[in-house]
Amino acid sequence: MTPSPATATSSYIAALEAFEKDGFNQDPGWTRALRKEAIARFSELGFPTARRGNEEWKYTDVGPIAQAPFRPPTAPGVAKLGASALKRFTFGERRWHRLVFVDGSFNQRLSFLSALPTGVKVLNLAEALKSRSTLVREHLAGHADYSNQAFTALNTAFVHDGAFVHVPDGAVVEEPIHILFLTTSREKDTVSHPRVLVVTGRHSKTTIIESYGGLTDARYLSNAVSEVVVGPGASVEHYRIQRHSEEAYHVGTTQAVLGRDGHFSSVTFDLGGALVRNNLNVLMGDEGSSCMLNGVYLVTRSQKIDNQVTIDHAKAHTTSRELYKGVLDGQSKAVFHGSIIVRRDAQKVDARQEDKNLLLSDQAEANIKPAFWIYADDVKCGHGAATGRLDESTLFYLRSRGLSEDDAQSLLVRGFVNEVIETISCDPLRAHIGDLVTATLQEL
């Protein structure tokens, strides 16, 4: 039985009323207006359905999310989280700046900020709403579309806390800023709406790592929205590591907006979750901007992963590169839907997109949809997609050199995804991700 969209959304409307009453009404008036608008949009839109014609959700059914009565946790399990549990997610890095959010709330005790260059602000959003109100107001919900995207609307309706990073003109942040969202609540069906806002100035340089993880066996929903503003000539490296627990649902939307000659690079790793949907939208907002969007997804059992990557080449002389690789085992299902839009007059656009899938099991399913929408003529756009299994002769070669079947397979798969891992320019992170991927592959 599928509840009607009205019943599915009404529990969130009720939750928002409680949330507003619950002491968050000291937020500035405009945020309350924003929430009201967003919840109104959400109740109009309802949860997306996979009905015919809804191309964006063609292969992913969010029925399980719409049907479960997700609500904010009553008692966030903060106290139980020790340093050792945390280490799994922080990689034991002591030098990285770190903001930790547990069950949706900022955790001061677990967070850590070393010396930052002058003017650079890294703080939680609830605090920024008070101290940096003008800047936050200018950008918050200004880029991620909540009027047409139901999950973004839902997140925006509950916007209160999250991470806020501001890097002024010319500033270079040497160490990565690690933003960690953890779910620990043992209650069934809790929801959190992580929010990230990154605003970078002219010629600045920033590395952001977003981590999502779960330390609970209970089912939960994590509905994240990140907005990244890349200033003129600025460079933002954005990494996203998703390691939710087995029962988790995750919807993550990232909207990047690039200024003139700005560069945005994004590398995402999806290893966890039962049902995961990532929307990565990049707006090439001015001439000379470029982006590199790479990703790896490793799924097994009945995991479902859906990556939607949209690059909007709104201006001329913009370049994009995209490489996604997936390894599918068990009865897992992966979706890759990459859209490249080249607007009229956006001449000299150079766009390449690639998606490759390795099927390790007969029950796994891959659905790929690379799409071009091109309205300018002087462009070079290419895409490639491939699906297959491990090459028999290569496996045989490794076996003949004495490797066990499992080892041979692991080695080949590791080599397959290594192409993406190699594109991580942050050295310690590359090493950590490499170890993480190897460990995950051994479990496959």
Binding site: E55, D345, N367, D378, H383
Partner: protein, 485 residues
Amino acid sequence: MTTANKEVNTIASQGYKYGFVTDIEADVAPRGLNEDTVRWISAKKSEPDFMLQWRLKAFRYWEKLLQGQETPSWANVHYPPIDYQNMIYYSAPKTKEKLESLDQVDPELLRTYEKLGIPLEEQKRLAGVAVDAIFDSVSIATTFREELAKHGIVFCPFSEALQEHPELVQKYLGSVVPYSDNFYAALNAAVFSDGSFCYIPKGVRCPLELTTYFRINTAETGQFERTLIIADEGSYVSYLEGCSAPMRDENQLHAAVVELITHDNAEIKYSTIQNWYPGNEEGKGGIYNFVTKRGKCQGKNSKISWTQVETGSAITWKYPSVILQGDNSVGEFYSVALTKGYQQADTGTKMTHIGKNTRSKIISKAISAGHGNNTYRGLVKVMPKADNARNFTQCDSLLIGDQCGAHTTPYVEVRNSTAQLEHEAFTSRVDEDMLFYCNQRGLSTEDAQSLIINGFCKEVFQKLPFEFAVEATRLLELNLEGAVG
């Protein structure tokens, strides 16, 4: 940019040379569509009862879709809603008696086909091609009947097949494209008036290229023809269709259905040169070409190959597909689609791998000029039991001018780990370096461009029967003449 605009203008202003109207008396159905129209058409054709019942079922299904406003809206084409009641569903040149031979065909009609470059008389003499010509709604003449009959091949108008081979029609009609397949297939099933029927018996290699030529003549008519080709075990046939229509300001609807069936070890090669009237340079008028084409490789080791050259129509909505059911069966799709002026094309293919060791290949070349918009839409689907399925897809687009659009939306759905699929697509304009190279070897820019475009399409043209490959090259050249500033 100025040169580019000049290009656009010259391409857009290329004329359509098949746009004349033949003044001929016609027998037309009353305007509009209801159950009576369907009965009227069926009675006109003295059809067996199973046919009428099938048509009525289709009509009721279509009506339900229309009322539920379930007209297909997913394609990347834009047009005002079609008023299905303000259209004529049947128009036939008036004939006194059933035609015995080509000599009895109205000379006016024969002249029309000559103008179109299909001299039936001559082709009757020149060996190689057997033609079935369809004018508005009915089949006018089928040549080479006797020659084909010697081999046991049935090649005749659909209405005749219903009289002479009702058991074959009943067995296969709707087995690949059921009336409930989509909106236009349902409409076609309800009102289709004629088309070609072809049956190649076991082990026969059809000695001639079979050809059907379609022509829409009467104003405000829709043309709904249905083609059914059955290749029995071990047989082979190569089939070609061509089409054209007069220039009119109103849009005309063409909703055809083509069904192909191959049994064990059989092969069908189906080629189309589609040159319906594309509308004038402001995008007024032209044919809406909403066509459902699908082949089923039912038997083992069978093969179906689609080759299409799409240069006409205001809107093309067409996805020749192959269901690869038999083990080791092969599906192929080769396409060149050109849109200029305000033409819109949303075309591609669907390869459904069901049997083991099935292979498919898709080569699509799209050329957009003027304000044209060209979309490749394709699906490659590998079902769980299709072990060792193999697909290669390449869909390239060429852009001429900054007002046109080229879009690619391929879908790949894989449910078997032994499948190996590759997809490549590239979109760009004619490469400056190539043009420069040709220029410095003494070729004019126009010749160079033509050469490059021809090279771009070569892989597809090579798949056409020889005579038509020449025609297709000429057609493309004509359409792009003066495309350089």
